[in-house]
């Protein structure tokens, strides 16, 4: 075998374990889901195998699924907005802090050491009728009876922001950390105020990080089902809850497969759009 041929094969040999894992753990299960989405659920007993478009037709034309999908995208968008609003100042503060940057980054990572479900449930102890906030307000005489704060769309968004904020902060931090601070100094030396230097120099340069954080928060937020289950009221549901219910409660695996693929396509389209205009490199930087 020639040296060139060996060199050509070497990357593929090195990549083969990772490619094998992706194929086995992602592509093959995905293929199963695709096949399942064309089957039909029978009222009792095993599903009917075959190539039927009924599930897809319902998923695409039924206003119920459209409504929940739009609601999911709306909740994900609001969550992303608040993550950006809260995350940017935090990331800016960490970047500009001199001595304790490592400790601040460690504090940012700390919530990841606790289960997401436990973190979500902690809001029940904070916002519940007998929770910390109501107890404090009652004891200080601000209110005379507990305020109902839990189990609505606002608490769902709150739970999601709590879950996703570190992803946003990390992405913005990576972006801000790469900006030369001399640029701001140069702008102020040329007569710009601190605010102008920030809005016209730093902010535009950090936008790729903000966009990467936004994409991560949006995709993760749109795909969650635990938060509305724990913190939502009877009506609050996101698209992933419908997938869960179709598969677990209704035992309708074919419909659940079609719905999960629909969500995958919608979120995949958003990622493709991001990649088209901003590229994936910023995203991998933020994750790394």
């Amino acid at each position: 075998m020639s040296v060139e041929a060996r060199e050509r094969r070497q990357p593929w040999i090195l990549l083969s374990p990772a490619l094998g894992a992706v194929a086995l753990l992602l592509l093959v299960p995905l293929l199963f889901i695709v096949v399942y989405s064309f089957w039909l659920r029978s009222a009792v007993g095993p599903d009917t195998a075959g190539f039927h478009l009924d599930n897809w037709q319902r998923a695409l034309t039924d206003p119920f699924y459209r409504y929940i999908l739009f609601n999911t995208l709306k909740i994900a968008a609001i969550t992303t907005f608040f993550c950006a609003l809260l995350g940017y100042p935090a990331a800016y503060f960490i970047t500009r802090s001199s001595g304790n940057k490592l400790i601040l980054l460690l504090l940012l990572m700390l919530p990841f050491w606790i289960s997401y479900i436990i973190r979500t449930m902690s809001w029940i102890n904070i916002l519940g009728s007998s929770g910390a906030l109501n107890t404090f307000l009652l004891s200080t005489g601000v209110i005379s009876s507990p305020i109902q704060m839990l189990y609505n769309e606002a608490t769902v968004i709150l739970g999601l922001v709590h879950f996703l904020l570190p992803f946003m902060v990390l992405n913005i931090y990576v972006s801000l950390d790469g900006i030369d601070t001399n640029l701001e100094d140069a702008a102020t030396s040329l007569g710009a105020t601190r605010w102008q230097a920030f809005t016209q120099v730093t902010l535009p340069l950090s936008l790729p990080g903000l966009a990467a954080g936004g994409l991560l928060c949006f995709v993760l937020g749109a795909g969650t089902y635990i938060t509305p289950l724990i913190l939502g009221g009877p009506r609050d549901a996101m698209f992933a809850n419908l997938v869960f219910e179709a598969i677990i409660t209704q035992l309708n695996w074919p419909m659940g497969s079609a719905l999960s693929l629909l969500l995958l396509f919608v979120l995949g389209a958003l990622v493709a759009l991001y990649n088209r205009y901003l590229g994936m490199s910023q995203l991998t930087k933020g994750l790394g």
Partner: protein, 380 residues
């Protein structure tokens, strides 16, 4: 002599009064200790194919009771380890079983006769040899007959306990008189808007909707009225709970004042000192639970465990722990002092006072109603 025979002889001596309770438990413990300290070579001396049986149940106090009163003594007596898992709902568990390898799941503590029918429809049943489960003779005929109606030629499960899904209410805000007066209608009473809960289970929602619209739960004629009642409840409810732990937390923390609830869980709350009332309205939701042996399981080992679990000593201890009356016939077995005081207990052994779901009716409507409920819940 095998371990089972050894255990049965001990049990026989204990029942005859030849052995006191302390000695009986001590000998079982000694057997377990002996098994624990044996060398690896001892295993070569006797062939034992089955080393473990998996049991899945509802968790919480139920699981603790099984572990303490049934599994540990069983392992001590037979050497077969019992691995216990938990699930939050029967639907979720069935989905897991369907996607598993045969034999991965062995015995499940399933709820309702319609679960039995669903498992049979999916071909997940086995044929139990009742000769290996002599304690079946102590079980109420009325409970077993429900399964025989689905599989007349065999049984894949034995009844284990029964209970009700009745109305649970906080006595600080709702009096016993008000509850008896309003019954199921209290769940759609605007006076308690934002303080009402409900199980996120389409069957329970539909059952109570039938009661609220004056219909028979096993023969709902006016479906539109029932769905409207579910919509009313949805609009007044603060939260649909999804597990027994969540039900107990919502009531104990006073997030909600009234909901339907599982009789055993409410009894557990009362034992903890919470002033929670429990009321079974006319035609309230009665159900039974069974120990279902799933296809692919080591059937003989499962039969042995089931027989052990049905023994009055074990069955009563578990029932007292989980607060659900056992399937044992109170006219044949002395059930002690606590069980006759439990909610839903039927001293006659006929269960004629309770209304159970007709499995044919409910399973026939499952596909349509479960999907419609998902829509109604979200405002459609």
């Amino acid at each position: 002599m095998d371990n089972t025979t050894r255990y049965n002889r001990l049990l026989e001596r204990y029942r005859n009064g030849d052995l006191d309770r302390r000695s009986f438990l001590g000998l079982i413990g000694a057997a377990g200790a002996a098994y624990g300290v044996q060398t690896p070579f001892a295993k070569m001396a006797f062939a034992q194919d089955v080393t473990q049986v998996r049991f899945d149940g509802w968790g919480g106090v139920v699981s603790e009771a099984f572990r303490r009163h049934a599994f540990d003594p069983y392992t001590a007596a037979t050497g077969i380890n019992v691995v216990d898992g938990t699930f939050a709902g029967g639907d979720e568990y069935l989905a897991q079983v369907r996607s598993s390898r045969e034999g991965e799941y062995n015995i499940a503590h399933l709820s309702g006769v319609f679960d039995y029918a669903r498992y049979v429809n999916f071909g997940l049943d086995v044929e139990l040899n009742l000769d290996n489960i002599p304690n079946m003779g102590l079980v109420m005929e009325a409970l077993t007959n429900a399964y025989r109606g689905i599989t007349p030629d065999h049984l894949s499960a034995v009844p284990y306990n029964y209970g009700t899904t009745g109305l649970a209410y906080n006595r600080k805000y709702i009096s016993d008189e008000e509850m008896r007066e309003k019954g199921a209608m209290i769940l759609i009473d605007e006076a308690y808007q934002g303080k009402i809960g409900g199980w996120q289970d389409w069957r329970t929602r539909m059952w109570y909707a039938a009661l609220q619209t004056g219909q028979s739960p096993n023969d709902i004629q006016d479906l539109d009225a029932a769905w409207d009642a579910i919509r009313s409840h949805r609009d007044l409810a603060l939260k649909y709970w999804g597990s027994g732990a969540e039900l107990m937390s919502l009531l104990a923390e006073e997030e909600i004042y009234v909901t339907e609830g599982w009789s055993g869980r409410i009894a557990a709350l009362q034992e903890q000192g919470h002033d929670i009332g429990y009321y079974d309205p006319p035609n309230g939701f009665g159900w039974q639970e069974c120990l279902f042996v799933i296809k692919g399981s080591p059937v003989e080992a499962c039969e042995e465990l089931i027989n052990f679990m049905l023994a009055p000593e074990t069955s009563i201890a578990v029932a007292e722990g989980q607060n659900y009356p056992p399937a044992l016939d109170g006219t044949k077995v002395d059930l002690g002092e606590k069980i006759p005081t439990l909610p839903a207990y039927d001293p006659t052994g006929t269960l004629e006072a309770l209304t159970f779901a007709d499995p044919t009716y409910w399973n026939g409507n499952e596909a349509e109603w479960s999907e419609t409920f998902a829509r109604v819940q979200r405002g459609f």
